[in-house]
Symmetry: C2
Subunit: 338 residues, 2 copies
């Protein structure tokens, strides 16, 4: 049997912890024989949940952590003080090499800070980006960066483009993924100081398939595979995506309920519609990887249920098998040193 992929899971993070977290972990375990899962958190609570499932006990370990970092806590402080929290302990297991990857639905801030401080960056990576997959009409695009470090430099964006390309090609299986620079117009001279400085760097980079600027309007249609941007802008795009999607779908639902005629129609269209809209469901893609670290950190939505946790954990298997970090090292460190 080949080596197992060891994944530390923050059992205490997110709105539905530990129930849905443990459920997702169990589902991932069933789907992949290559997994070993370390459930990190309050032992007693995890034990209670585990009793609900039949599972291969040799591939599950509980790691007791008595503290929990709450959503609202100042991240730097929390990481520093709560040494026995699930986040700090689980990240420590990646740092030490016990685990290959880590999945959490907990505090975004604490996970981003922890990723940099506890897991640590790959040598040569200036800034580790958080890169969620967003659904498009043709599949999914990687939005890189949506992290907490705003006011990025052009050299950061160049690294994002390289790391994002590696991820899309080798984890998502998109051959020669197209890279677009998120901008307010398609022309090369459009944009703010940052994108104007970044454009030629991307254009002259032989490692990526740069196709020029991409407008936010064209992202949902699937114009490019990798959308490169600074974190503030990426966050605005991501959150608008989620907000418009949620509001529009609730309007569509409400619209269907306004008359008897439309209610009957709604019953008839429901199954077909559900299937189509599932493609546009962000949970199907699992969480967002934080790239460029010594190990993989996957941050899933705070509202994650079992399916997103499962998909996030399964992502870790591919990430290790495809030796993503070796490939990132190759593109970033070696190329940059030449």
């Amino acid at each position: 049997m080949s080596e197992l992929v060891n994944v530390a899971v923050d059992a205490m993070g997110g709105d539905y912890a530990p129930d849905e977290i443990v459920k997702g972990a169990m589902e991932a375990l069933r789907e992949s024989e290559k997994l070993k899962i370390f459930l990190v958190g309050k032992e007693e609570l995890i034990q209670q949940q585990l009793q609900k499932y039949e599972y291969d006990k040799s591939r599950v370990e509980i790691v007791n952590a008595t503290e929990v970092i709450e959503m609202g806590e100042p991240p730097v402080n929390a990481i520093r003080k709560k040494k026995d929290s699930s986040i700090v302990k689980a990240m420590g297991m990646v740092k030490s090499g016990t685990c290959d990857a880590y999945v959490s639905a907990g505090s975004t801030g604490a996970n981003l800070v922890g990723g940099q401080v506890l897991v640590g960056r790959i040598k040569g990576v200036e800034r580790p980006p958080l890169a969620p997959l967003i659904p498009t009409a043709t599949g999914a695009a990687l939005l890189i960066d949506c992290g907490a470090n705003v006011d990025a430099r052009a050299s950061h964006l160049l690294q994002f483009a390289k790391m994002g390309s590696v991820y899309m090609e080798h984890v998502m299986g998109v051959p020669n993924p197209t890279v677009g620079l998120l901008n307010i117009g398609a022309e090369e001279d459009k944009g703010n100081a940052l994108v104007k400085e970044t454009y030629p760097l991307l254009q002259n980079c032989p490692d990526i398939n740069f196709v020029g600027n991409v407008e936010a309007r064209d992202v949902p249609a699937g114009a490019v595979d990798v959308v490169v941007c600074e974190a503030f802008v990426g966050n605005i795009l991501l959150k608008t995506y989620e907000g418009v999607g949620a509001t529009l779908l609730s309007q569509v639902k409400a619209g269907m309920m306004t008359s008897l005629r439309s209610k009957i129609g709604a019953l008839l269209v429901k199954p077909a519609l559900k299937k189509t809209l599932k493609k546009f469901d962000i949970e199907q893609y699992g969480g967002a990887p934080m790239l460029g670290l010594n190990g993989l950190v996957v941050k899933t939505h705070g509202s994650s249920k079992a399916v997103e946790i499962k998909n996030s954990i399964l992502q870790c298997v591919l990430f290790k098998e495809q030796k993503i970090n070796d490939k990132i090292r190759e593109k970033i460190v070696i190329k940059d040193e030449q």
Copy 2:
């Protein structure tokens, strides 16, 4: 009879010029007796269109302009060289006071540059923002700024907040409109350097109803009436809004067409759904005003049809009647000089 509101209309701008532009102008003329419209562009073409309509000839004038600024032309150059273009001529009529306002579906760049260079800023206004209305679950929100001048300063954003509040209160009729600073988190310490500097300025401004940071996710639900942001970020939000809306609706439509059962259902839900989604139709709101100029400039979508042109022209009537520019002068110039 009270004084007429004189509106210069760029008859040559947009994908459907001059047909839909003239049609929209005629519809606006029928809806408001207070309007006089100056159709600016190639006389012969405008004349051809006008022949299709019955209208009050005392309230329509054709102003011949032999040149057209195309969508792709470098704006500064075009404005400088094409003195006999519809954009330059029509804006000149606002500058000279012949017209109170101006509506165009033509080149965004040329209109933004022309607004600043030809129409000119109100004294004290540092930067005139372009402020489209975006549909929300509860009505509409003003997104200010989405213009061409990126890399704004905090003092600009403060002025945007004031101008946007005046517009929402007196043109859109929202009493004491709420103002949110677009940010990547709700907490005061979140964000990039610009928003961190802007936050206390808004908080300490007695002229606006500032309610704190607003996340992009909450904008579509109608969290605030005025969304304050820098133009690059505003453009990303606006274009994501349009892109997700268009893609999602086409997915919903496609989803309904996948089986015989769902096709029948689609027929039944269609009328109710159409009515609901009309609320979410950006065209209903007309174009985006460019605020802080000596006169009103309204930029509508390049793809505008008659209804958007009509609504944009009617906006101009309210703008003048409500003496918006006097109110902006009062908030910006006088307050700032105190």
